[in-house]
């Protein structure tokens, strides 16, 4: 019995690792595990089922992520895997791993800041420039190159940059 359980948990870990290797096609330095998009891996009989959650309702990357999870699992020897989308609990940037935040920053995207309130209709949030570190920055647009990012500009070094919105 013990050996069976150990075998199962090892198998699950292998499936998890395979799914967790898939990267976000729009921010390829982050894996779906870093993002908190990968929620669960379970076995249904012989088949593995992976649960993912969308960052934003209309995120166009979800279909591609699902496809790549299937490919990754097939390659790891899990046949005919299934990918299920779960909505609840709703994804939040709080689920982004510390490692993910560091990778984002190194990539030139400011990671989400927990302190900023998306509920405040107006008002400032301080986002430091990922290039020069200056906090003299300004918001250009709430909506950037992807659903999850806003477009900012540094007034010190004049470089535009992406900020991963707190969600």
């Amino acid at each position: 019995m013990v050996t069976v359980l150990e075998h199962d948990s090892e198998l699950r870990q292998r499936a998890w690792d395979a799914a967790a290797s898939v990267v976000d096609p729009e921010i390829p330095v982050l894996t779906i595990a870093d993002l908190g998009v990968l929620r669960d891996v379970v076995f249904d009989g012989d088949h593995v089922e992976v649960a993912i959650t969308p960052t934003y309702s209309g995120c166009p990357a979800m279909n591609m992520i699902a496809l790549e999870i299937e490919v990754a699992l097939e390659r790891a020897g899990f046949h005919r895997p299934k990918v299920r989308t779960v909505l609840s609990p709703a994804w939040t940037t709080d689920w982004m791993s510390e490692e993910g935040r560091q990778k984002l920053r190194a990539y030139g995207i400011v990671p989400p800041q927990a302190a900023s309130s998306r509920r405040a209709l107006f008002g400032g949030q301080a986002v430091a420039c990922p290039q020069c570190g200056s906090d003299k920055t300004e918001l250009l647009s709430e909506f950037g190159s992807t659903s999850c990012k806003a477009l900012w500009r540094c007034k010190a070094c004049r470089e535009p940059f992406d900020y991963f919105k707190c969600h």
Partner: protein, 258 residues
Amino acid sequence: MPVANIQVSETPMVLYTLRRADDALILGHRLSEWCGHAPMLEEDMALSNIALDLIGQARELYTYAAAVEGKDNDEDKLAYLRDVRQYRNLLLVEQPNGDFAQTLVRQFFYSAFADLYWRAMMTSRDATLAAIAAKSEKESAYHLRHASEWIIRLGDGTDESHVRAQTAIDHLWAFTGEMFAVDDGECALIHAGIAIDPGTLRGRWLTTLSDVISEATLELPQNDWMQQGGRAGRHSEHLGHLLSELQSMQRTFPGLTW
């Protein structure tokens, strides 16, 4: 050969979900019409992003409506194979984009409502609607902030932008009453704790409007005559034209997939 419209068994629950799905799809489609045409690149991306959020919400809602109905329908059939009279969206969201001010005033009226609505729906006894609400309320907070900033910029901008914003407010005002109306089927869902009573949101909705509109040096209309009909399938002429574009591929090549 023309493709037949699907039939939908409109139980109160199916109808309730479809109405919200139609709001999101039609408004999302309207915003997508700005893609490549907005006055500046940042705004082009913003409107397209908001359109994406709304169409994403519509997909979740259509999928759920189809599951509740339990027939052969799915999100695609519900979006592509219903005719004008089968659409149940608010008249507000199908109104043409007009100029930039009209698009943003329409967005402001809707987002100020949607933000309150989805937050309230997070406590729905229906687990799926509550889950969709929890995702949507995060997005609607951004949509409202974006629209509010524009209302202020346009109203408190040049003489030209001020006039255009005020004209849009006066023009679209009569379409806002429908957001707070309920029919018998919805009343039953409200009593069951599945839906929320939109009438309870009206006070806070008006407060948001007043705050932003007065900061924008604009005025709320005093006129309280309201047009209704969208929820019952009676639409303005504009929706038919919108659907003819939205549905053209599926009507021309039935079952077409990417």
